[in-house]
Symmetry: C2
Subunit: 277 residues, 2 copies
């Protein structure tokens, strides 16, 4: 019989907090997850959407526990929004495997902060890395606010600049190819998250649903890059443009642009590139 142990950092931090105070929390947060059976795809490996969700959970726990997360920000009508997410994977956790997400902030500027992720197993073997960029916005105006003026001092106490992340600084996702409209959907109830807009991870799921199952039989995702440009909401029409036809000739990188179309114009919501291999 297999025994699986899942103890989140909640427990570790609970213990730490009983013998010290919040200021002594380590700069790098460490969170334990398991590849739940129904979060795995037909290849019996974790869906990248669920991995992405675990990265966002780790970011949420890490920032809240250190006093600069959304739990505090909501009290002053501010919140974090994800602007970029890059994931590079050597392999993906298989069903029932435990994995550890380490997360840390390496820099904070007026309008952006860089959050890193390292995904490894219990024995330190690396699954992959992630890099993300976050902005802080005012929840009423939805406009960016100056992070350094809002809570920069708290974040700055936890900057970790030495820990290695092999993903280089994220550059903007470039879409220099001709993309064709492949699918349109209406955003519905299960797309909408606690902030009332389409959840960042839901775009990833819809994007991956553009590919035939064969793509995932033949290849795995080595690199996933998404840039979030504008929020979208319930009942908005989301259009997915891709150069997916080119994957029959070229199985490496595919580009996807997501727009939303209103009564008058079409606006870019996010853009994405995926490298299969």
């Amino acid at each position: 019989m297999q025994i699986f142990i899942r103890i989140s950092l909640f427990l570790q931090e609970y213990i730490i907090n009983r013998i010290s105070d919040m200021n002594n929390l380590p700069k790098i947060g460490k969170y334990h997850f398991v590849a739940e059976p129904f979060h795995c795809d037909f290849t019996k490996r974790l869906f990248i959407g669920h991995l992405g969700n675990n990265l966002l959970n780790a970011a949420d726990f890490h920032s809240n526990d250190r006093g600069y997360g959304v739990n505090y920000l909501n009290t002053i009508n501010k919140t974090w929004v994800l602007s970029r997410l890059s994931i590079e994977l050597e392999r993906m956790p298989a069903i029932y495997e435990n994995f550890i997400v380490e997360t840390w902030i390496d820099s904070v500027m007026r309008y952006f902060t860089n959050r890193n992720f390292k995904i490894a197993d219990d024995e330190g073997r690396v699954y992959g890395y992630g890099k993300s960029i976050w902005a802080m916005i005012d929840t009423a105006t939805r406009q960016p606010v100056d992070i350094l003026k809002t809570n920069g001092e708290t974040i700055s106490k936890y900057l970790e600049t030495e820990y290695v992340n092999p993903i280089r600084k994220s550059s903007r996702v470039k879409l220099d190819t001709d993309l064709k409209l492949q699918k349109s959907i209406l955003a519905t109830y299960s797309d909408i998250d606690i902030n009332g807009h389409v959840n960042s991870i839901k775009y990833i799921e819809h994007i991956l649903d553009l590919f035939p199952l064969d793509q995932y039989k033949k290849y795995r995702i080595k690199k996933f890059d998404i840039a979030y440009i504008m929020e979208s909401y319930n009942n908005e029409k989301l259009n997915f443009y891709t150069d997916i036809d080119s994957i029959t000739e070229c199985n490496n990188t595919v580009f996807i642009r997501v727009t939303k179309s209103g009564s008058e114009d079409e606006k870019e919501v996010c853009r994405c590139q995926i490298t299969f291999g």
Copy 2:
């Protein structure tokens, strides 16, 4: 600062297993979960799909740890399939709330076994209950097999008939109203689970997406009943029939039938009834 503690029964069972053996595991399994922020809807309460997923996880852990789960069954080309799921809720876990799922089997017959769920908070306050019926099938023929001949002796050791579940025996979901086609979709990558068919929970998500957001602003789900009749697969067209128009007049129970349409005929995949209140 809020401290959240999540220790799954994995840990408890790990400890139990160090001082005893598998035969001494309690009949009722007890599993700890938290309402993760990105598993909550716009009302900041857990999506019922994610609750359903946690119930299935609890069932999976409970049966595997006791030697009659899919980890064992897969070695003899058998597996469990969910046939019915009923959930009755007094309230739904809110964002970050811890909740405990207790699960136990109260009866085992040739072709079906009854699994119960109780969902409560740390202080024993009940969120709701669940009742489910499972069949065992041969993974090659996809036909039902006799549970008692396969592994009945193992399951029977863990029958718990005294613990109270106020949900009465599930009767078949009756569809006695005129249902209209409301939406059709193609099953895609993220619908397909480790068994290669559309995941039980994904039907629930697609069904809930049939309702406008206003429905969830005005009402909460008090009762959710789904009967799974036939499997569906990637790229099959799923049709959702409802009497949803009647909810403007009557806000209590709505019926949904899901079919799949092949080249020739249309077959019923599952049927569902939801009581809002």
